[in-house]
Amino acid sequence: MTNIAFVRKKEIPPSAPPITEVGLIGWLRQNLFSSWLNAILTVLSVYFIVIMLWDFIPWAYGGHWNTKSLRECLDLDPDVACFSVLAARWKQLLFGLYPAEEYWRPTLTFIFLLLAIVPILFPKFFRFFWFSIIYPGLAVWLLWGGSFWSISIVYIGLTFGTLLFLSLIRRYLKNYMIAAILAFLFTAVFFLFISNPLVALLNVILPISLPFVESLKMGGFTLSLIVGVTGIVASFPIGILLALGRQSNLPVIKMICVGFIEFIRGVPLITLLFVASVLLNYFLPPGTNFDIVLRVVIMVTLFSAAYMAEVIRGGLAGLPLGQHEASASLGLTYWQSQRLIIMPQALKISIPGIVNTFIGLFKDTTLVSIISLRDPVGLASTIRADQKWNGIYWELYVAIGLMFFIFCWGMSQYSQYLERKLKTDK
């Protein structure tokens, strides 16, 4: 009797997975051709990408860089890009009408900007934060010029006020508000009566100054960055205050904040810029006239502060009520609990919204071209009005768009990095 039962004695070695499931083919099957619909979509997408690149690569790659006018480009080869316009006008696109011999000033300001934001973006370098604090004054002095001392006096005054406030609290008073009011009064006295003679004196002793450049000369990306960066820096604290004001249980303050936020959010930025350029003279004492760039910066700041306030309010609303109650039960005052408990968490939740507002603000700086300031978009039409470059579109627009894209995309990437870094829960 033969035993027909079969028992395997040795384990079979695992066979290789089918070729259709691994490697390149497997990846293709899973990601691109998993179903009929997907296959069709893939083919359509590839077709689309190919025809885009088919036109774009020869156009961009063969582009002319050193012709004198668009006419010359078209005579050489009408089917490729004419980047000569960028070669001829890149200084204008970057600096506007800034005097050519002073180009080093905006350039240096930009380099310092990169250095100044490093301590804010990366906590590792926080010990260089002092540079971020002196940067605004430095930038104003470099860009507009004038006497070095008239800018430094602002810093001296503010330092004086802060030190006064701190020492008042440490030594004599327990009440923040009274100390703040006193410090404010003394600082005001300093600025009203002492600063001007002091600046005059310093100018005589040690004259340091740069040639003055007026605001209407600012243009190009320098202008976008001036308006954008100032707006971003200034709108953040104002936005926080507005958000707190809106959440406040003091009805008058709440009403003012709600009214402000809803008004600003209800009208387009353009109308506000028109108010800044046309109507502001009505609201100020007769005869006053202040810098147009400053007016625009103020309007842009107020505009994005209102949006910022709403974003932060969202973050505040997202916090459980227990956090407020717990911090109150620990005996923290309102500002202590805001600073130590509420705001860090609320701001963390609202990082994406905050960065989106920043990006929006930076993009909105192009709107100043409509009140005839020379930002890149405004300059593009100025350049196209030139006989030599009349009829050029894509080269300019692509270049400007790319610049904005780099800045905005960089900001959004940083926000995603920050979100990942601050994530405490899964």
Binding site: L41, V252, I253, C408
Partner: protein, 405 residues
Amino acid sequence: MSSPTLPPSESFKFSMLLSDTRYRGMSLQVITFIIFMAVFFWLVDNTIKNLALLDKDVSFNFLWLRAGYDINQRLIPYTNDSTHGMAALVGILNTLLVAFVGCIIATILGLFVGILRLSKNWIVAKLMSAYIEGFRNVPILLWIVMVFALLTEFTPAPRAFKGAEPEATMLFFESVAITNRGTYFPAPVLAEGAYWLLLCFGLSIVAAIYFIRYANKQKKDTGKSLPTFWVSSLVIVFPTLILYFAMGQPVSLEYPYLKGFNFKDGIHLRNSFLALTLALAFYTSAFIAEIVRAGIMAVSKGQSEAAASLGLRPNKIMSLIILPQALRIIVPPLISNYLNLTKNSSLAIAVGYMDVRGTLGGITLNQTGRELESMLLLMGFYLAVSLLISSFINYFNRSFQIVVR
């Protein structure tokens, strides 16, 4: 029993207004209010002084004066003999038209892109995220001028359609002409009896709505679901179609045709309108796509797994479980993006489209010199629109939010 002794009441000191938490809030508010009113009156006072210096007054009478300028796109009758008020109204309608059409296109595109962005297909997902990042990170003003340049520079002139062997041809069976002066579509012409057709169409829609309500009630009562989509589509389409042929086709299309160097008849959409609408729609669709994606991803995976374990089919899971929950998250930011689109439409000036900012806040303002009044009216209009929309958002939030505790 001893009564609890109260702490000795402190006598009121003036400094307590600032230091005591009982009074501090109040005194803070009073100070703020005084400062606010002071600033307010300072501004009003300055305005009055400035107006007196310029020998101007505040009056809205200019709205009833002859405007004297033409508007190339108008939805209501308007000539240059009409009043400034009419010009403002034409502008308002133009703004609303751009906003309405733009919102529809942006929603469709945004839904499409947002869903495809979640696709498992690698190349499609990457393409869609390139679309989103591209539109979101470049200023809208640049997109508007770029689309305008595309429409005016890369489309044939009307005369290219001329001749036996024209350089350019009309699309869709000789019905749509894309030219550098705008795009021409066939226009519907209503003959006698067309109103009956419209009435019939309206009634069928009402009937379909009633049927859907009935079907929902049936489902709630018995658990049986009726083929709602098919039945309501048939109810809407068939009676109108039958009536259309029975009455001898009372609605016909008027095709645009070339006459001289331009197209005649049909609906003419100007490039300014198209550029503005399309650019706004593309730009906003990128934001909507992200909202849609976030909304769908916010519905936790457990929901779809639970639904699957109850035996629901994938399309039922989508329509009954995922979408109702995702919509609750999607709709409020979606509407606020509509609002953004409406406000961004004020960039019409970049392509010369006559929206309310172009008429009331542009030519009227310059002609009459009434900056203050025009800007007030203009801001009032935008404020009204945005308050209307935000009150709708609040209403939506109140009625659809999940009730907790």
